[in-house]
Amino acid sequence: MIRGAALLLGLLLALGSASRAQAQDAYSLLASPSFDGIRQGVQELGRSGDSRALPIISALQDGELFARADHALFIRTASGFIDAKTGESAPDVTAAQLKKVRLNNPVREAIDQTLGSLRLFDPDPDRRRAAADAVFHAHDPLALSALDRAIAAERDPAVHRAMTEARAAALLSAPDASTQDKLASVDIIRARGGADSRAILEPLRDQPPPLGSAVAAAMRSIDQQLQFWGVIQSVYYGVSLGSVLLLAAAGLAITFGVMGVINMAHGEMVMLGAYAAFVVQQALGPAWTGTSIVLAVPAAFVISGGLGIVIERTLIRWLYGRPLETLLATWGVSLVLQQAVRSIFGPDNRPVQPPGWMSGDFHLGGLTLTLNRLVIIVFAALVLAGLMAVLRLTPLGLRMRAVTQNRTMAAAMGIATPWIDAFTFGLGSGVAGMAGVALSQIDNVSPNLGQSYIIDSFMVVVFGGVGNLWGTAIGALTLGIVNKFLEPVAGAVLGKIAVLVMVILFIQRKPRGLVPLRGRAAEA
């Protein structure tokens, strides 16, 4: 590491005087008003070997590089401006004299590539690794000499490998490299695999053999590998969609599945939960983003659950046994809730910031697992387990089951059936609220949030088998996975229609759903 730095320093000193003139051009290019000029400036500065290149380009990337009318460059730091060329502080420079050096995508690309080759010698191995990836992505033959030096100095095996791969990619783009070297590079890229590697090989497919045939063979191997991982990835996407469906439907499995209330306002309970996440986050402030989402879960449960109890006591209890009236009344409630939220919070989307521990992704073989989806899968599993525990292990759960299976007998045993109804409805609504917190991480927090889930929720509950939580879970996962396999083939619109048709046909054959209730309860 230290050797690497020393090597770079020596190199810079040697190059320094020779390319001073070139660096001067780069400075004035960076201060030019055209994006093309700025892009060239970045590239020139990177190649010049100027020791100021790294801080200047990093500042440009962070939006802290400013130019004065006379083309002098300054870097903004916490303690004021510093002269970009010398690194000394410039106390008499004020923001009013300066214009920010602007970026567009081609400039950003040049920055990524240049920083990539500059940071190959960074003391931090993670940064060297990222730099090697950037160079791989750029596969610019001009980076070859820097890569050779960096590889010679590298001691960390993972970084060494990333650098060797970057070198292979750069070599394949070099017109004057020998066929021997290129064949060796194809092998390295083939071993690396993945879509990026494929993108590097693709343009070389039409080369004459032996290179062309080696490339074609490597691409076939990569394609096979991609196809294999693609299937697993689709299963993951399906499980992820299934977990969202399960969350949205779990509450409905209680209110509709267990109680038999056709609750059209179920989606709005989900929506209220999402707004609860927003309110909790606003109340706690930006410093608490990580914990606010956790605290929002019980808050959403209480808010949606409480409202559920109120709705049951004031409206639904008068309508038991009259499904059509229940449907219309709860539909009305859903419209009222939507417009109420629209009046209070406004019609536009509210941002719920993702907490740090839910952002980002990690790779497992050829799979890319995004953390927020993974958290939602785990959360859905926990909610399902919790609900089952409540229904099976608690006195409340026992009474709920008793009331729904035989109301008269339960009342005769001294159970206050009206209150059990209210609590059951409250539990279902509260679970919907918790689902809303999870959905706030992947969907719009807007008054319309609930509408988009209500149909899917009913579909899951009916398909899975009314009155059975296991059925709901299996139904949600099945629909999720089928949907994700159909989507790339048939497109999202046709895929959705196909799933709907399949569910209808299935219900025709098995009206009680995937996992039907058995025994006396089913006849009740």
Partner: protein, 451 residues
């Protein structure tokens, strides 16, 4: 604008006749003007002039349309403070069509036949516009439509103050082709009339530029699509063919947030696969964490970040009217600002609010837009506009990276679609036709009958 012009001037030569054409139109000889400039009937003198506002205040589209209702109320209040119009006050009639397309037609009928509105400002989605079109044509009303749309329409009773495809989509594609060297295209949209027509035009346009079929992927998703995992994975795969790939997004409203969230999740940066959107503006970004989206693009005729005194004044008056300094401004708001001022000028020119003279007087009217120039109403009832390409910044605003050198004149009928390439719309007498076929010299239907 201080922004550098990275676009090649030639590329717009065909699209934009430029300021000269607009200026020439401003000086159109208007014989109608003299004929119709009778003083307003005495009975009207004291009564206010009614202006209809037809925007959804509830339902799915409330997210976008409520703001437009507010901006109209602000403009009307400002005009009344200046003394109104034809020495009469303006009175806003606000109705709520509740994002319900048939209700749009009912409310439009009410505004025209019950409230007798002199002009109506409204609609957002194309389907709502298609729904009110027959009503405006039957009752001879005036509608100002403020949203970018798919074109292929030219009604005598509608003034289109939003962009036609060549004022938004095609310059955006040109920018990506020239500056970002994109050669492979994903056209992703929500499954309804605007994305389908726009993509049909874009596909034809890309093919004229030599893009092969294999390099175009078209994908439609249902309204409010929220699970983008597999589609974005598909786009990523399509983009790994060794050619620079870009996504042209006509994804509508609500589906955008999960789309961009998933894009950030799967680590697709703007430098890998840039996304250029035609329906995402400052208002839509307000609900999003834009840090992972920096560099993705949008094409509009106005951005809040446009640096002109006119825009500064507009933003200030908006903030003080809405009493919230955080509210953003956006392109359709500017379109209403332009449309409202055009209507004022047309009424003053005609000396009456009667539809026929106002419709005739409106052609050739030029008013300042917010980006420092003048927009004019052309004979095809569309307006001239500058086109801006902006990159999303981490504060939810747009960094303007490109701007057309002049104003672009709208092509209401796309020259890239076989059925419409010979059509022109020109509502000046004696032609007065919305869909005139220059090959057969016959006049077809430009509005409701065609739709």
């Amino acid at each position: 604008m201080a922004g550098p012009l990275t676009l090649d001037r030639r590329s717009f030569g065909r699209l934009g006749i430029g300021v000269t054409a607009a200026a020439a139109l401003g000086a159109l000889p208007s014989s109608e003007r003299r004929a119709e400039a009778a003083p307003a009937p005495a009975a009207d003198a004291g009564t206010p002039i009614k202006v209809g506002i037809l925007h959804s205040l509830s339902g799915t589209m409330a997210i976008s349309e409520t703001t437009l209702k507010d901006v109209m109320l602000m403009l009307i209040a400002q005009q009344n403070a200046k003394g109104g119009l034809l020495s009469r006050k303006l009175e806003a009639v606000v109705v709520d069509p509740a994002s319900n397309w048939p209700l749009f037609a009912e409310k439009a009928r009410q505004l025209l036949s019950v409230d007798k509105c002199a002009a109506v400002f409204g609609c957002w989605t194309s389907v709502s516009r298609k729904s009110v079109l027959p009503v405006f044509e039957e009752l001879n009303g005036i509608l100002f439509y403020p949203v970018q749309y798919e074109g292929q329409e030219c009604s005598r009773n509608v003034f289109y103050t939003g962009a036609a495809p060549n004022q938004q989509a095609i310059p955006a594609v040109d920018y990506l082709m020239e500056t970002e060297k994109v050669t492979r295209w994903v056209l992703a949209g929500t499954d309804y009339v605007y994305p389908r027509t726009t993509n049909q035009i874009l596909e034809a346009y890309l093919k004229t530029k030599g893009v092969a079929d294999a390099d175009i992927m078209i994908n439609y998703t249902p309204f409010g699509h929220s699970d983008w995992q597999s589609i974005i994975a598909q786009i990523k795969q399509f983009g790994s063919a060794g050619k620079k790939t870009a996504v042209v997004s006509t994804i509508n409203g609500d589906a955008n947030v999960p789309f961009y969230k998933e894009l950030g999740n799967q680590g697709i940066k703007a430098t890998d696969i840039p996304v250029v959107a035609f329906s995402v503006g400052e208002e839509e970004l307000a609900g999003m964490d834009t840090k992972p989206l920096v560099g993705h693009l949008a094409a509009w005729n106005y951005f809040e970040s446009v640096d002109t005194p006119e825009n500064k004044a507009f933003i200030e008056s908006w903030h003080s009217y809405i009493k919230n300094p955080k509210r953003t401004t956006n392109d359709p708001m500017e379109a209403h600002y332009i449309g409202f001022n055009m209507w004022l000028k047309a009424v003053e020119k005609a000396g009456t609010t009667d539809p026929n003279p106002v419709i005739d007087a409106a052609i050739g009217v030029a008013v300042p837009n917010l980006s420092g120039g003048y927009s004019s109403m052309m004979p095809n009832h569309h307006i001239t506009k500058p086109v801006f390409i902006g990159e999303i910044e981490d504060d939810g605003q747009f960094n303007i990276v490109s701007q057309t050198p002049g104003l672009v004149v709208a092509q209401e009928w796309s020259p890239y679609v076989a059925e419409t390439k010979d059509l022109i719309g020109d509502w000046r007498k004696p032609l007065a036709c919305g869909a005139f076929n220059v090959k057969t010299s016959s006049c077809g239907a430009g509005g409701a009958k065609r739709a």
